[in-house]
């Protein structure tokens, strides 16, 4: 299972950057938005392709090779 983590950086001007790492789907927004909401005004948002992945995405891969 991927590591789920939030990295928060508060710069010396007070601006806050919240990065979610390994948290997929809606859960990602729940945590990040809750923090943003208690702090103030959201100024920008970037989402990577990971956001659009399903929260459950286990996949088994079977390779079959011909052995001669």
């Amino acid at each position: 299972m991927a590591q789920e983590e939030i990295e928060i950086e508060v710069d010396k001007h007070g601006r806050v950057t919240i990065k979610t790492i390994g948290i997929k789907g809606k859960r990602c927004l729940d945590v990040a938005e809750a923090l943003a909401e208690i702090l103030g005004k959201e100024e920008g948002r970037t989402m990577t392709s990971e956001f659009y992945e399903s929260e459950v995405h286990a996949q088994n891969r079977i390779e079959i090779r011909n052995q001669r």
Binding site: I8, H13, V16, I21, C28, E42, E43, T48, F51
Partner: protein, 153 residues
Amino acid sequence: MSTVLVVAPIVIANWPMITAAVTAAIATSGFTSVQHHASNIAAQMKSKTRETIEVDDSEVLTDTFGTDEAIVVERDGITATFKRDSKGALQICMEGESVSKSQLRAIGEDLLGRVTQQYAYHRIVSELTNRGLTIVDEEMTENESVKIRVRNW
């Protein structure tokens, strides 16, 4: 990584919270706290340059406290007085000799940034604690940012 949010904090706090943020901020910016005597300051202000910074995105909650509190900090003859303005917002009055208004504003805005940083830090830690989340790492970076890493939920 899946989401990055950038947030500009709005300082909404009662006076003890603001005092705590200012106290923590001056520790990293070379200012020291000085006793606030309104009459003395008024007498000294005559020959000084003054610049007022209105923090529009802020609200000083009065709670059971009055509205006339002030925190005065000083560095190299420049004083910064934090107080609540008539609209209930935070205001910083900068004063100093042999210094221009723009220099006072720059110093005041730098100080305000550090106060906002401390305020945001304490709000974040408080919220994370309330949610039962654990801070696994915390550091001050080279560019004086505070970095917090949270896990376990």
